[in-house]
């Protein structure tokens, strides 16, 4: 198995490692860098638990090779908020948008990207936007409310 040196900037910090060509980005993040907030929920790119932002765009990191992220900027849940809470994290807490917490990091990364692209989404747009992320606990109603709350908070922040 060939190996390659890669440099990936994760949450603002550059990491250089020698990795197998087949190593998945999610395993690079979880096993090599010990950032275990990004979860794995399936083997068919269906559930979205492993969603990270790859150069600002949500990507299911179980379906990206680490070598394909060479030179990229990756944001994981650990990079949300910069010490405080990101409005998305605030929204999920206030609106009870999580229960077991397993889908939550991926769900929040998708929500962050959604709100950056569309700061004032309708319920339908939110539902469509998170439809690549499965949640088994919440029935989605409170996730929708969490994203709506995050949208409000982001507007307040930018107005302030």
């Amino acid at each position: 198995m060939s190996s390659h040196q890669i440099s990936v900037t994760i949450n603002g910090e550059e990491h250089t490692r020698e990795v197998e060509a087949r190593l998945l980005l999610v395993h690079f993040i979880r096993e090599e860098l010990d950032l275990t907030g990004t979860h794995i929920g399936c083997d068919t790119t269906s559930c979205g638990a492993c969603t990270v932002l790859l150069n600002g765009v949500p990507a299911k990191s179980c379906t990206v090779f680490a070598v394909a992220a060479d030179g990229a900027e990756v944001t994981t849940v650990e990079g949300l908020g910069n010490g405080g809470l990101h409005p998305v994290q605030q929204g999920f807490t206030e609106k009870h948008g999580l229960q077991c917490g397993f889908c939550t990091p991926g769900m929040m990364m998708t929500s962050k990207a959604l709100l950056e692209e569309n700061p004032d989404p309708s319920e339908e747009e939110i539902r469509w936007g998170i439809s690549g992320n499965l949640c088994r606990c919440t029935g989605y109603v409170n996730i929708v409310r969490a994203v709506q709350r995050a949208s409000e908070l982001m507007k307040e922040n930018s107005d302030g």
Binding site: E20, R22, L23, H27, R30, E31, D34, L35, T36, G37, T38, H39, I40, G41, C42, D43, T44, S46, C47, A49, T76, V77, E78, L80, G81, L85, Q89, F92, T93, E94, H96, L98, Q99, C100, G101, F102, C103, T104, P105, M108, E123, I126, R127, W128, I130, S131, G132, N133, L134, C135, R136, C137, T138, G139, Y140, V141, N142, I143, V144
Partner: protein, 781 residues
């Protein structure tokens, strides 16, 4: 003093602080020094003789350290393990596989990838055998026998109620409806799969098992029992259930992977991690349902009179159901539901087939969903046969509030209920009469719209020790509370949250009882070395059992606190009055000591003759089960071109007794409803005639996304449980139990005028379109 935010407050969850930062600690996040990884090679056949396992083909892979087969385990008498239902299942097969995806060998390696490589490289020779997948076929004479160690494929016959009386009552009815229905195999598909890290310390003879389990103490005892001959003992086994990414019943059983990781750790002397893939999870872990029901329900003069259910239960190759020991069909005999009927009889015949073992709950209390589906479908059919609106028919036939406590025909004592109030509230919320008018207009235009009701009664909180045990261990649960000198507390429980929010709700119960705010109470579960013994979290039992224990332990602390307060206030104990958070002298509210004052004194100035400290433990044995209920109304539109069922509105009125944290209760109902419509519309684990699984990954097994899930509309009524210390009943599963028949009834209602009387689930677009086409109602261009 500040409000203590006990019962009835939507306190934000304590556990969220770590979850939203990605700092939850789930099983796959645990990494121990020198840890090895285990992967499992699985059978491509549903039934086959293993003629040879070429272990060398896996050992040749870089990084592979060991290959474990059934023959290895046989040497340690570990190839088979007992199930909770007095059956046995294989950890690894010695010579024959019984279902597709069954574990065949374990590969232990230095990395996750190397272990997977080893499993892929392992060559195994098989001689395929005939397969039986249909339980009805399996019962026929001459059928392929699934188990060599059994006489036939018939596992058990169980029945309950008065068979002759029910037949006689049905014969005396003026209206009887009969319907066959299949509740297919489904899978809980929690977003986190199962896994473990086993760490054996050979010097100390000590095993630490990090495990995705809903019942850590029960697992510890089971491990101790099945490994006693190898020298393991219960005091040297520590089970730690870390944060759990959803359970829903799927994390109750002991899976072969857990035993294999443990055996591998003992063999290698190193910690061993096993994490299953999603496909393995869906294909091999315990399934739910798979009941083939023949139902009959009769009425006389419009009054429901008699119910008969005869059932064939497909258990796969082993009866590994997760039921209390005395209940091979769980609590299926709740089947008389919300209705006052005098004659009932239910029977279940368990059958072996070449499918994975199981029979767990999928977010329900032991086969209650099957029972509710049957009665709610049948009541709908019977209403129409009587020419009556299904709502009116239900309202007339409900058990009335004044009949509680109610003795059901199948032997349960329902604790409390007001079924009519819940249904009337749901009808008001959805605007039932207006919807009926709209439906009539639409029907005249050829559009398909339906309205379906389900008025369920659940039975949860197992359970009273006189009848409920698992492997002989009574189904109590526990709370241990310690108040520290500064008035803060730690509380530990025998249950285990999988997302239900126990860290918050248990703290609120204690806050209510003692006046200590929830944020001052640390709640811990899941470590058998520290938590008091309990049977775990499933069957909506945490609040009915451990929640009650929290109340009782708090009250013990309060009573000791009274003695300390009397000492501090130099007053007679009998003259002290408790008001949340303090004792004061009757008639002199200023002469008071807070719980914090009392806690400090318990360690610094305790009265002579009284032990120091302020703590208590309760093992709560519930006097009865609890009976949550509710009424759901579902409104659907059906696309005549595609057969797609769209849920336009869904109103859910739940009564779970007293609500501890309304925000969390609503969240539980939202999630439960979503897991209720899932099997109604989308989910099924199915097999072809050769036993090949046809829904074994998340591309084929369709878990609802936000797009299929409607915006749930919730309502509530509150009928406290009279026997629970705080009147709570449990709510985690009500919606999953109650929702499916509401959706089916709505779809059948939409198609009734076409002559449709029943729909099997899941009601996929293909299945609905076929029915439309059969009745000449599919749209054509």
């Amino acid at each position: 003093m500040a409000e203590c935010r006990g019962l009835g407050h939507s306190v934000q969850r304590k556990e969220d602080a770590r979850f939203i930062r990605g700092q939850g600690r789930y099983i796959d996040d645990i990494k121990l020094p020198g840890m090895l990884y285990l992967d499992i090679a699985r059978s491509p056949y549903a039934h086959a003789k293993i003629t040879k396992i070429h272990e060398d083909t896996a050992m040749a892979v870089d990084g592979v350290a060991a290959v474990i087969t059934g023959k290895t385990l046989e040497g340690f008498k570990l190839a088979w393990m007992p199930t909770l239902m007095s059956d046995q299942q294989m950890v690894l097969p010695v010579d024959t596989v019984k279902y597709q995806a069954q574990e065949v060998a374990a590969i232990v390696a230095t990395s996750r990838y190397a272990a997977a490589d080893g499993a892929a490289a392992l060559e195994v020779d098989y001689d395929p055998l005939p397969v039986v997948v249909d339980p009805h076929e399996a019962l026929k004479p001459g059928a392929t026998k699934v188990r060599d160690d059994k006489e036939s494929n018939h596992i058990f016959h169980w029945e309950h109620g008065d068979a002759d009386g029910t037949e006689a009552a049905l014969a005396g009815c003026d209206t009887v409806v009969e319907q066959k229905m299949h509740l297919p195999r489904i899978h809980v598909a929690s977003i986190e799969t199962c896994g473990c890290v086993a760490s054996w310390n050979p010097v100390e003879g000590h095993l630490t098992l990090y495990l995705t389990t809903q019942a850590p103490h029960a697992i510890r005892t089971v491990v101790a029992l099945v490994t006693a001959h190898l020298g393991l003992a219960e005091h040297k086994i520590r089970v730690i259930s870390p944060d759990i990414g959803g359970g829903f019943g799927g994390k109750v059983p002991v899976y072969p992977g857990y035993v294999l990781a443990t055996a591998a750790s003992v063999v290698t002397g190193k910690p061993v991690k096993w994490i299953e893939d999603r496909s393995e999870n869906l294909q091999a872990d315990s399934f739910a349902r798979d009941y083939h029901i023949t139902a009959r329900l009769g009425s006389k003069d419009g009054k429901v009179t008699a119910l008969k259910l005869d059932t064939v239960a497909d258990h796969g190759y082993s009866d590994a159901a997760a039921n209390p020991s005395k209940f091979p069909a769980g609590l299926y005999h709740i089947a008389t539901g919300s209705y006052d009927l005098e004659n009932a009889h239910v029977s279940v015949d368990g059958v072996y087939t070449n499918k994975p073992p199981g029979g767990i709950a999928y977010r329900c209390s032991f086969r209650v969903t099957e029972a509710v589906h049957a009665i709610e479908r049948m009541v709908d059919l019977l209403a129409r046969e009587n020419g009556e609106d299904p709502a009116d028919f239900r309202l007339r036939n409900f058990i009335k509030p004044e009949q509680f406590p109610y003795q059901s025909a199948l032997g349960w004592e329902y604790d409390s209920g007001d079924y009519g109030a819940a249904l009337e509230k749901a009808m008001d919320m959805i605007g039932y009469q207006d919807l009926r008018a709209e439906q009539a207009e639409k029907r005249a235009r050829g559009e398909l719209m339906g309205i379906g009701i389900s008025s369920f009664t659940e039975i949860v909180g197992a359970g009273p020790s006189k009848t409920f045990d698992i492997l002989g261990i009574k189904m109590f649960d526990s709370a241990e509370i310690r108040i520290h000198p500064t008035g803060k507390a730690i509380a530990r429980f025998g249950t285990k949250s999988q997302g239900q929010g126990h860290e918050t709700t248990y703290a609120q119960i204690i806050a209510e009882e003692l006046g200590i705010p929830p944020e001052d109470i640390q709640v811990e579960e899941g470590d058998t070395d520290t938590a008091p013994y309990g049977l775990g979290t499933y069957a909506s039992r945490s609040t009915p059992t451990a929640g009650a224990a929290a109340s009782i332990a708090s009250r013990k602390i309060r009573e000791k606190g009274r003695k300390i307060a009397a000492h501090l206030l130099e007053a007679d104990e009998a003259d002290l009055v408790w008001e949340q958070g303090k004792f004061y002298v009757k008639g002199s509210p200023d002469r008071a000591k807070t719980i914090q004052d009392i806690a400090f004194a318990a360690y610094t100035n305790h009265p002579q003759g009284l032990e120091a400290g302020l703590e208590a433990i309760s093992y709560y044995d519930p006097p009865n089960l609890t009976f949550p209920f509710g009424s759901y109304i579902c409104c659907v539109d059906i696309d005549r071109g595609t057969g797609q069922v769209k849920i336009r509105r869904f109103v859910a009125v739940d009564d779970c007794g007293v609500r501890i944290n309304p925000m969390i209760v609503d969240g539980q109902i939202h999630g439960g409803l979503t897991m209720g419509i899932a099997p109604a519309l989308l989910e099924e684990i199915s097999y072809d005639a050769d036993g090949n699984i046809t829904g074994g990954n998340l591309m084929e097994y369709l878990v609802p996304t936000a797009m299929e899930t409607p915006h749930w509309e919730l309502g509530e009524t509150v009928t406290p449980s009279p026997h629970h210390p705080i009147g709570a009943k449990g709510v985690g599963e009500s919606a999953t139990v109650g929702a499916p028949p509401a959706v089916v009834n709505a779809v059948v209602d939409a198609l009734w005028h076409l002559g449709v009387r029943h729909m099997e689930i899941p009601m996929t677009p293909a299945r609905v379109w076929d029915v439309l086409n059969e009745h000449g109602a599919a749209a054509t261009r």
